[in-house]
Amino acid sequence: MVLSIIRPFYMAFAHLFKTTFTVKYPYEVLRPSERYRGRPMLNLERCVGCGVCVWICPNKALNMVKVGDLKLPQLDAGRCMFCGLCADFCPRIAMVMTQHYELAEYNRKSLIYSPERFSQPPKQFDGKLMSVKKIRKHFGVTHG
């Protein structure tokens, strides 16, 4: 009985000096895995506007809009659930899933990716680790 009272104290002490799990997120970036399905991206040169992606999308996140003389898919990122079916079903491999996951916007309209914006590749992660001092310098904030 005494052991069952003292053992947790010992366990807690033993964990005091272990490495922490915390990732200081906006400053430290974890690279997603290679297969990570982030925001889909359209390859404008390959897309023929067949509409299979629109047909397969379970959430109706994609719809066709007219661009010039071609109909191209447009993404509503607010409805996308990153299942990747559009990329799987695309017959010309024009739709690919990128590793981009920082998709927050200030309003709903900015969530809509028109074909031009849809086809822009996301910025690359550098995944560098910054110290807190450097962060302050970089971001000019004291409170993260």
């Binding site: 069952s4 053992r7 947790p8 895995s33 379970p58 079916l85």
Partner: protein, 356 residues
């Protein structure tokens, strides 16, 4: 005194209880569910079979692997196709990882219900091990959309086996820590032993599922009763406890995590090479099927009626938390109010899963 427990309460989740409290003793309890009712069964009727894959797993994202598992098993039985052996083993691996992740999440909730924050943080951290592995394999951390009728979407990535072995070894050591910190903790035993006893006869009468049932001494596990995928080729044991109290249910889940590690190791050892997917036609023959899998919370049933089209005519999801919910008012009668969160968490009820 009537106390409304939730939906704005530290441990209530997305539902509420109407508690009838006499001094400090709960004399009656009525769950008020439906805050997250999304009508997934109805939505699924309006989507094709392949589109339903991401839909059904959102019924319970903590255990998405097993929720899709049941669905694809049902659809494949309707289609009458046999999945390649390699896909079966990969499915078992994903299902067991999902089970471990779900049980770890439960462990957090259970420890926060008894008031031990340390054991809230450790399992959350170690859950990342498996979420990362699943991300490496499936591309997404929680809702994988990885199983499709006919097989799985991707093959095992390079280095997956070694990474899994490494993390399993670490996780086994962590499980020992958990056992020492929580299960052997005197105060935890005081809080959970002989609390919320669900007798064997009652458990069957109420038809509770999964670890709750096995904690009452009933040895029902779909993986053994009706082996699906590759579970018939792996010789694991089904942990049971006879007491039926909160501690027994907790212990069953702990031993299930150990068994899951064993199953993943065996599956990685026995996995054959070959195809991972067979091509299937989008439309499904007329008929009906009831498919069962053992999810982390217990038996999950899919009843699918097909009229021969490419959409299910009716999809009924018999969710595990919904079935265990019936026993909650029973075991909450006559306990002090301090045990309400403990009992609620001991059954591992997830409101998302109850409502669907």
């Amino acid at each position: 005194m009537k106390v409304r427990w939730g939906p704005q309460h530290p441990v209530s989740g997305q539902w509420s209880f109407f508690l009838d409290v006499d001094a400090d003793v709960v004399v009656g309890m009525e769950p008020d569910v439906g805050y997250t009712h999304r009508g997934i069964e109805k939505v699924a009727e309006n989507r094709t079979y392949i589109q339903d894959v991401p839909i059904v797993e959102r019924a319970c994202i903590f255990d998405a692997g097993n929720f899709v598992f049941g669905y694809v098993e049902a659809v494949e039985e309707l289609m009458g196709i046999e999945v390649p052996e390699r896909a079966k083993f990969i499915r078992v691996i994903v299902g067991e990882m999902s089970r471990i992740a779900s049980h770890l999440y439960w462990l957090c909730l259970m420890s926060i219900a008894v008031g031990l924050e340390t054991m809230l943080m450790w399992p959350v951290n170690d859950r990342e091990l498996f979420l990362d592995l699943l991300e490496m394999l499936t591309g997404i951390r929680l809702t994988y959309s990885y199983f499709i009728p006919g097989g799985v979407r991707y093959d095992l990535p390079a280095g997956f086996r070694e990474e899994t072995e490494r993390r399993m070894d670490y996780f086994e050591r962590r499980l020992k820590d958990y056992y020492k910190m929580l299960y052997l903790n005197r105060t935890f035993q005081m809080r959970t032993k002989d609390v919320g006893v669900l007798k064997q006869a009652d458990a069957i009468r109420m038809s509770v599922v999964g670890p709750n049932l096995r904690g009452s001494g009933v040895k029902i596990d779909v993986r053994k009763d009706e082996p699906y995928a590759a579970y018939d080729q792996i010789d694991f044991t089904v942990p049971t406890e006879s007491e039926g109290d909160t501690y027994a249910r907790s212990l069953v889940r702990f031993h299930e995590m150990e068994q899951s590690i064993f199953i993943i190791r065996e599956a990685l050892k026995k996995i054959p090479s070959g195809q991972i997917r067979v091509n299937v036609s989008p439309s499904v023959p007329k008929g009906e099927v009831y498919s069962r899998v053992e999810s982390a919370r217990g038996e999950l049933g899919y009843y699918i009626v097909s009229d021969g089209g490419n959409k299910p005519y009716r999809l009924k999801m018999s969710a595990p938390s919904f079935r265990s919910l019936l026993s909650l008012p029973q075991i909450m009668r006559g306990v002090p109010m301090a045990d309400v969160p403990t009992l609620y968490m001991s059954l591992d009820l997830i409101p998302l899963d109850v409502d669907r």
